[in-house]
Symmetry: C2
Subunit: 257 residues, 2 copies
């Protein structure tokens, strides 16, 4: 299969890189209305079904999108990282709750003004559309991971997604001599909510991967990945995280550092 551009990865460190293709006036207008908002870890940003009056772009940190079930469970249906847009633009209420998984900074744009700007600027409109298409693709990736019966394999997929999606985001992914170190920015409980299981199983799965020699657990949340190929094989989806692309990005990072 030929190398195709991977829409999922970002290789620059600017949260607003989604907007670089926009014309000068549009960027000016966005800059004029943007406002940096901080959320401490654990804080709720929106509830389910609640209208929010701004469009947000994550500047730093991680947000989790989650549903609330009547039995008290909180399955996570997606993560938002640097550069991701949230706050459905045209469609009133968001169907998911958004909470800060880590300390987070968000660029907020007043919703009405953002929408009028979208109507005037086809490029902005398209940037938003592409962002949503990306989100759709990623959600499907999570579905594929969740459809895996064995938890070890789900965790393998989780680690790979962490690698590819968080490359270039803060200090979450770093190339080492012996592999790739990822800094998982959430608790075992959150990981369990994301992978449809319980924290104990996550722990066991990670230690099983360590046992198998695929990873090393430096601290509970700092995982050194020794064998990306082995993980990819467990998941079964070759281009889930396009390992080649990942390696290129890591090579770039090494050049930079």
């Amino acid at each position: 299969m030929p190398d195709k551009p991977d829409k999922r990865s970002r290789n620059d460190h600017n949260a607003l890189s989604v907007f670089t293709d926009l014309c000068h006036e549009t960027r000016e207008a966005l800059g004029a209305m943007q406002q940096l908002v901080r959320f401490p870890a654990g804080q709720a940003i929106t509830r389910e079904g609640e209208e929010i009056n701004f469009v947000g772009i994550v500047a730093s940190g991680i947000l989790r999108m989650q549903k609330t079930l009547t039995d008290g469970r909180h399955p996570i249906v997606g993560l938002l990282v640097e550069g991701d847009i949230f706050g459905q633009v045209f469609d009133g209420a968001t169907e998911v709750a958004i909470e800060a998984a880590t300390d987070t900074e968000v660029y907020a744009f007043p919703r009405g003004r953002f929408e009028t700007l979208m109507r005037r600027s086809p490029e902005l409109d398209r940037a938003v559309l592409l962002n949503i298409l990306n989100e759709l693709d990623r959600t499907r990736d999570w579905m594929v991971i969740l459809s895996n019966a064995k938890i070890v394999n789900r965790v393998a997929g989780f680690l790979l997604i962490m690698c590819t999606r968080f490359v270039g985001v803060e200090h979450l992914v770093q190339a080492r001599r012996d592999g790739i170190e990822v800094n998982i920015p959430m608790s075992r409980l959150d990981q369990a909510h994301l992978l449809g299981t319980r924290p104990e199983s996550i722990s066991r799965a990670l230690h099983a991967l360590a046992e198998a020699g695929d990873i090393i657990i430096n601290t509970p949340n700092r995982i050194l990945i020794l064998d990306t190929g082995a993980l990819a094989e467990r998941v079964g989806e070759e281009d889930l995280c396009s390992i080649t692309n990942l390696k290129n990005l890591l090579a770039n990072k090494e050049l930079l550092s």
Copy 2:
């Protein structure tokens, strides 16, 4: 929680109802370029990573979107029914394979001409955007269902989604004196691929629901749902399928028939 408009349901029987809000010229232009294509059950429409040169709208039947894993598994990441748009517009290759789950009719629009029309008609552009947002919501619903550990509960969620999403689509959902009858338009194997399990488990789960008195299995694919509340409770997501809305739609159907 107040009644909010449910974007997931359709209560008219026209596949092109997504376009009713468009202006006259746009509809004329679309009508001029549309072409009805038939696919027999089981036929592949697109492979993963393959570019397709048309934008499709399902006229009748069911399509399944699926990924292909290296180990030969084919997890299903979504279903397309009457009125659903597919064939990502701006973003070249689709990341999923699309196959006909049943005999299907599709309105095909040449992609280039469709895109130029989109650029000229903000309403069309927005209709497509809304369709994608819907798809995103539905994919998250599947994620929530998949994150359920017990297969019985996943099947319960599956049945509810079938009810709400397929109301008004062909003869798949019908109101009865004693409940709601759904006609599942796919095999146990497909259901298993969708719910991340195996056909045997689907069978056992359905019979467990029958044992519990929640449903009656008339034929393997014609399920009479006796207690939607019990199913909803298993899933835990109250507005997954907005039961009240479902009941209204069924009431309408009865008035029509």
